[in-house]
Every structure is written in structure tokens, then in C-alpha cells.
């Protein structure tokens, strides 16, 4: 029996908290990306591993360098810097010079996150900022694709990977177009089974539709992403591309191809769902997703690039504060919409 006063805290209620933490959500996203990452390594071998490592290193080192010492440990442990680097790496071609991947990771964290005030403050998705920087600065390197290889040449490292900074890049000469490129410039289809498995040319982590979907389903099941965003993106892409397909089946891709090819799945499940740079309101999430879907189809079909997911997400990131402002939920007991 205790009659002596224990040392008591006065922490204000509520004292109960639900299980999920921001850190565990980050770890869940990393776990969800694991199958697609492993597939990327399988298809693109040691080169893929080197590019991923370079971009992750670029992100983490930048985070470490620009964070005050007291908060450094917590910042690095929250996993968001690692995730930014990994997501960037997964959307890079495996033949990219490593120094470029490193710079991309550094720019993604530096210009994409830290100058805004760190985690939770940035307007744009950091990994896409890094990628957009690379695309604008090194357009040639960013669009030189190598076909997915097999176990045979796993240990082959592309000569271009080892290019020195700002020096001429030698490609191995085995470049091949991505399914979207083939479709856009040569009206050539790629089989859906290859798109699902990922045995195609493209960025390291975007080729295996099946494994990306698997990870997406895992994140939905764990409720770490807002289901409305991938749902609205995929539905709107399917809808808009069906309309075009109905008018010109020989010129335009069908809805299934549009969803599986390129970086739409990795974008819809892993990048657009970044809570920081997407709307916080449920209605806003729908507008955001449909906007991305529309922009993706427009850029892919009518733009100069074969792929438009990156620009579509960045453009809708920019619209997010506005969307949030006009989709505030209607407050209980108040007639009009809030604000």
C-alpha cells in the first residue's frame, strides 16, 4: 500500500494516443518500396545500386550538414531524408553518372526541403525537386535509358556511372527507348505483362507495375497514405486516356497502358501522396488527384516529353495551398463552408 505522494507529472489530457507515429509511417513507406527497389536492383544490377546509393547519400549528407547539431540525430532518424533520396534514386536511369545522382539528392533536400524550413514546411515534393533539377540541368543523361538486364550482367557497371563531374560522359551504346517513348515517337506498344513485371527500359524503380501496386496496397492497408489521391489520379488518367483512345486507338495509348507505363504508379502511390505537399482536406485530395491525372495525360500526349508525371505533381503541389484554402470543411453547426 502506498500512502506517500509519488512524483507526479501534470501532462494535460488526452493521455491516450493512437499507435501510428510519423516515424513509423516513414518506415512503412520504406517497407512498401522494398519490393520495387529489389526488382529495380534485379533488373538494373550494380549500376542501379550505385545510383540509389549516390542519391540517398546526397540527401542524407545534405540533411546532416545543414541541421543544427542538437536536432541532427532526430532529423536523420525520422527517415524522411532517406526516403527522399530513395524515391529520387528510383526515378533515375541506371546509367546516370553517380555524381549527378548525388547532386540531385543534395538539391532535393536542400532546395526542396531545408530552405522551406525542414520537414513539414516544403511546398514541393523534395525528391521531385531534385529530379526536376537534374532533368533541367542534364537533359541528355536523364533521358539515356538502358534496357533492363538479367542476372547475367548483374555486376556490370556502366562506364557512364563513373564519369567525373562536369566531364564528358561516355555511354555504353546500349540505350533503348522507354515504353512511353516508343509509344509517343514510334506508335509502338509494349505488352502489358512486361509493364507489370518490369522487364523494360526505364528508371530504376518505376518499371515493375505489379510490385509498385503491392507496396501501394500495403500502404493503404496500413493507412499511411490517403487513398483518395492514388484513386483519383488513376481513375482520372484512365478516364481521360479512354476518351482519347476512343477517338484514335492507333495514335493514343489505352487506359491500362497509360496507368502502367512510365512513372505513373510510383508517382500516384509514393510521390503525390506525400502528405506535406498534398492537400490536407479530403475534398482537396480529390481535386489534387484529378488535376494530376489531367496534367499527366495532357503532357504525355500533347507535350514535348513522353512522360509528364513529375511536372504534373509539381504543378499541383504549387496549387495545394490554394486548394486547401478553398476546401476547408464545413464546421459543425455552421451553415456556410469554413472561411
Amino acid at each position: 500500500m502506498s500512502t506517500e505522494d509519488p512524483r507526479l507529472l501534470l501532462q494535460a489530457a488526452p493521455l491516450l494516443k493512437q499507435q501510428l507515429t510519423t516515424r513509423s509511417a516513414m518506415l512503412d513507406v520504406l517497407l512498401a518500396l522494398l519490393p520495387a527497389t529489389l526488382a529495380g536492383l534485379w533488373f538494373f544490377g550494380l549500376s542501379g545500386l550505385l545510383v540509389l546509393s549516390a542519391s540517398i547519400l546526397g540527401s542524407i549528407m545534405t540533411e546532416w550538414f545543414f541541421t543544427p547539431e542538437e536536432t541532427r540525430r532526430q532529423r536523420l532518424l525520422d527517415g524522411s531524408g532517406f526516403l527522399t533520396g530513395l524515391l529520387l534514386g528510383l526515378t533515375l536511369p541506371s546509367s546516370l553518372p553517380l555524381w549527378m545522382a548525388f547532386v540531385g539528392g543534395a538539391v532535393g533536400i536542400g532546395l526542396g526541403k531545408l530552405i522551406w524550413g525542414g520537414l513539414g514546411q516544403n511546398l514541393f515534393n523534395p525528391s521531385l525537386v531534385g529530379r526536376a533539377f537534374l532533368q533541367a540541368t542534364f537533359p541528355n543523361a536523364m533521358t539515356t535509358w538502358t534496357p533492363a538486364g538479367g542476372p547475367g550482367d548483374f555486376f556490370q557497371v556502366h562506364a557512364s556511372n563513373l564519369a567525373l563531374p562536369f566531364m564528358h560522359v561516355d555511354y555504353d551504346g546500349v540505350s533503348s527507348a522507354t515504353p512511353l517513348g516508343l509509344m509517343k515517337f514510334e506508335y509502338q506498344d509494349t505488352s502489358l505483362s512486361n509493364l507489370l513485371i518490369g522487364n523494360i527500359s526505364g528508371c530504376i524503380g518505376e518499371t515493375s507495375g505489379l510490385l509498385l501496386l503491392l507496396g501501394g496496397v500495403y500502404m493503404l492497408w496500413r493507412r499511411v497514405i490517403d487513398w483518395r489521391i492514388p484513386a483519383s489520379i488513376l481513375l482520372s488518367v484512365a478516364l481521360f486516356s479512354s476518351v482519347l483512345y476512343a477517338f484514335g486507338p492507333d495514335r493514343y495509348p489505352g487506359p491500362l497502358f497509360s496507368i502502367l507505363a512510365g512513372s505513373l504508379l510510383i508517382g500516384a502511390f509514393y510521390m503525390a501522396t506525400d502528405p506535406v505537399s498534398s492537400p490536407i482536406t479530403p475534398r482537396g485530395a480529390w481535386i489534387f488527384g484529378v488535376g494530376i491525372g489531367l496534367l499527366v495525360v495532357l503532357i504525355r500526349i500533347f507535350g514535348g516529353f513522353p512522360e509528364g508525371v513529375m511536372f504534373a505533381i509539381l504543378l499541383m503541389n504549387a496549387a495545394t495551398p490554394l486548394i486547401d484554402r478553398y476546401t476547408q470543411p464545413r464546421v459543425f453547426g455552421r451553415g456556410g463552408a469554413g472561411r
Binding site: 500500500m1 502506498s2 500512502t3 505522494d5 509519488p6 512524483r7 507526479l8 507529472l9 501534470l10 501532462q11 494535460a12 489530457a13 488526452p14 493521455l15 491516450l16 494516443k17 493512437q18 501510428l20 507515429t21 510519423t22 516515424r23 513509423s24 509511417a25 532526430q74 525520422d78 525542414g118 520537414l119 513539414g120 514546411q121 490517403d226 502528405p275 506535406v276 498534398s278 490536407i280 482536406t281 479530403p282 485530395a285 476547408q328 470543411p329 464545413r330 464546421v331 459543425f332 453547426g333 455552421r334 451553415g335 469554413g338 472561411r339
Partner: protein, 447 residues
Amino acid sequence: MNVLPAFLRRGFAHGVHPEGFKERTADLPTQRMPFVGRYVMPLNQHLGAPAIPLVEVGDRVRRGQLIAEPGAFVSTSLHSPVTGRVTAIGNRRFPGGVFARSIEIETDPYATQRLEPRPPVDWRDLTREDFVAQVQYAGIVGMGGAAFPSHVKYSIPEGQHIDHLLVNGAECEPFLTNDHRLMVERPDALLRGIGIILHNLGAREATIGVELNKPDAIAALESHLKPSQPISVAPLHVKYPQGAEKMLIKAIYDKEVPAGELPRDLGIAVNNVGTVVAIADWFETGAPLIERILTVSGPGVENPSNLIVPLGTPVREVLNYCGGLKDDVIELVMGGPMMGMPIASLDVPVLKGTSGILAFTKSGNFRPREYPCIRCGRCLEACPYFLNPSRLARLAKARLYEEMENYFVMDCVECGSCTYACPSRIPIVQLIRTAKSQLRQPGAGDQ
């Protein structure tokens, strides 16, 4: 078991589903706690003005004797919980780590502690004013935790009429089972109390809202209901904060009480089950509010219990009666874990609004590491008022309190659902409380 199919159950939108932790005490019958040596009755243990003492140091008081009168209309009486002697009137410890003016009474060890008989009041023959005065005299307050003087709810302004009496048996706070036990053990008294209130307010019907995790309470009430009575039992989804007045009205009548208005503007009066039984006890036996049922639970208590405790009993005595505290207790809370008040000392007494005493042990929920808000939106989907807690917390951290009013911060009822849901462990509701108190001060927002 009378449990409706899912599609007939009623509820409100948003809210959260914390684990209940009720099984430890749900089936334990209430025990009457023995009298202890000393009682402390704070004068401000209800909302509104403090009561004014009618006794002086050294006075002998009988159990049930009026010892303090209402200090204003929104205020209520205090009665002695025990026969004994007034030993002090001064500042004593109060929940929240503060002090409050209180009457301290030393128990007479030789007294029988029997309640003095009182000539009965015929509740069928009262004017509205007399009914209100009776309830105020009996010291009855909202027993769900807020301790709002009940007679204020019964004084209906000219031109308004109460049609519905909504009896709150939701008990949505985890751990607490005091209302549950009351409905299981005294359904007859609850129904008689409803009859008294219905008659005196001239209301048409009464509905008792009970969450489905209390099937035995629903069954007990329905077995005591006579078909002639205009009373029904409404089973509800288990969801927090269902017991919040306006959420319960939404769940039962599917009506939104407009912001800034009261349930009575829709013709509804809401009473906690404990309040209704207190009214029955006053009119039938003449017992004023001098004791209440509370749940003692939480991981830090040796023997969790449901107890009938005289008001003013020090928490220390209640915990000793329940086998004491475990060694690793880190926090004590009066009320539920979602909205209760932390207490800093075991000398704090049981109050009219004390629905439970909970002891928590060290766990990750204490001083959690806070991460930046990642705008995941979980707080938006938790808030039963459809506010934007993420936005409010950001503004509060920047001390932009004026701007928070544009986001209807004053509509927040501080249920804590946002903070429960936040994966970054941001103390959202605490930030909002600070902002609200800043905004309430005159000249607020000048910074």
C-alpha cells in the same frame, strides 16, 4: 441481448476509436466506501460562481446539512458529506495543480452518519420556479464531468419549450464505468428520475443514449421500461466523443446545434444518467448531492473498482481503499483519460464532477517525442466539429491567435480527438486551449 443491426445504429461523423479499457471494472458492482477522518469541500467544484459558506470554523454539521449557498444564479449549494465539525475554511489543493477555497470537515467518529429525514417534496405539484429552486438547493450538477449546475438547464427562457429530454449514458471516455454500473444497478431510479424531469419540463419524450459496449445496461433499462412511458433506449456506435452534448444530439436526433446556440434552442435538454438519478434521490428520499459513483482504474491501481464515495474524500483515501498505487505510477487523472484533469497531489478531494480517478504508469504516451506536422490530415478526420486542427496548431505555435478565429477556434470543445490521432505527437488541443484562453482575455490579439 437487445442489439440492433448495424444499419439501425446511430452515430455522428468523424471522432476516434480509442481502446476502451473498460473490461477491468465493467462487471464490478459498486461498493460503498467507508467514511474516513477528514473531508474537503471546495467552494468552486461546479461551473459558475463559487458557493458562499454558511458555516464557521468550529461549527458542528450533520450529514446532508447545507454548508454553503449558491453565490449567484449560475452556482449551486454544498451539503456536508459527513457528520462532524468544521475545522478550517481556507485554501486546499484542487485538480490541475492549483488551490481553491474549501470547507474542511473532521468526521465525528461516534456519529451514526444516518441522513436526517426530510419532509418529502411532491414533485408533481411544483411550479417551474420551485422545481429550479429545488434542484439548485439540492446542489445537483452535471455528473458527466463538466459539473454545470443542472437547475440552469431547467430554467427555460420565455418563448422556448423543451420537447425532448436526452439522457446521456454514452460514457465514451475509456476506463470509466461509473455510468455503466449506475444504469445496470439502478435502472428503476434512472427511469423515475426521467419521469420527474419530463413532468416538470413538460417534455414529450425522453431518449437514453447508450453505447453498444454496454449491452447489459441497455437490457436492464429496457426490462424496467413500461410501454406506457414515453421513454426509449437508443443504442449507439462506440465512438469518442459521443458523450459530448452536441455529438449525442446529432447521433440521436440527427440535428446540428448551430454554433453559439444551446440544445434548448432546439427544444432539447441533455442530462447525464448520474444527474437524473441524483434528481430522483433528492425528490424521493431527500438526499442532496453528497456522494457520487466513480471508477478507480488505470494500469497503476492495484484493485480497480467502482465506488460510491462521499464528496470531499481525499484521493489518497480512495486509492488506499483500492489497495494503493503501484510503484511506477507517473500521473493521476480525475475524470477520463481524454478530457480529465491531472492532479498533482493525493490530497485533492473527490468533487461533484469526478467521474473517475485513473492512475497511469510510465509508457510511451508520456512526454512523447514531438515531430513536425506533416499535414497528414488525421486530425481533420478526427475532429467531430470539422475544424482544421493542423492549421490551428500551426497558427497557435506562431501565436497568430486572431487568425485562429477565422478558423473557428472558439467552436472547439477540447475533446482531444486531434491530439489522440496525431502521429507527430503534437499537443494540438493543449495549444488550442492556450489560444482560447488568450483570446478570452480583454484586449486579446494585440500582439
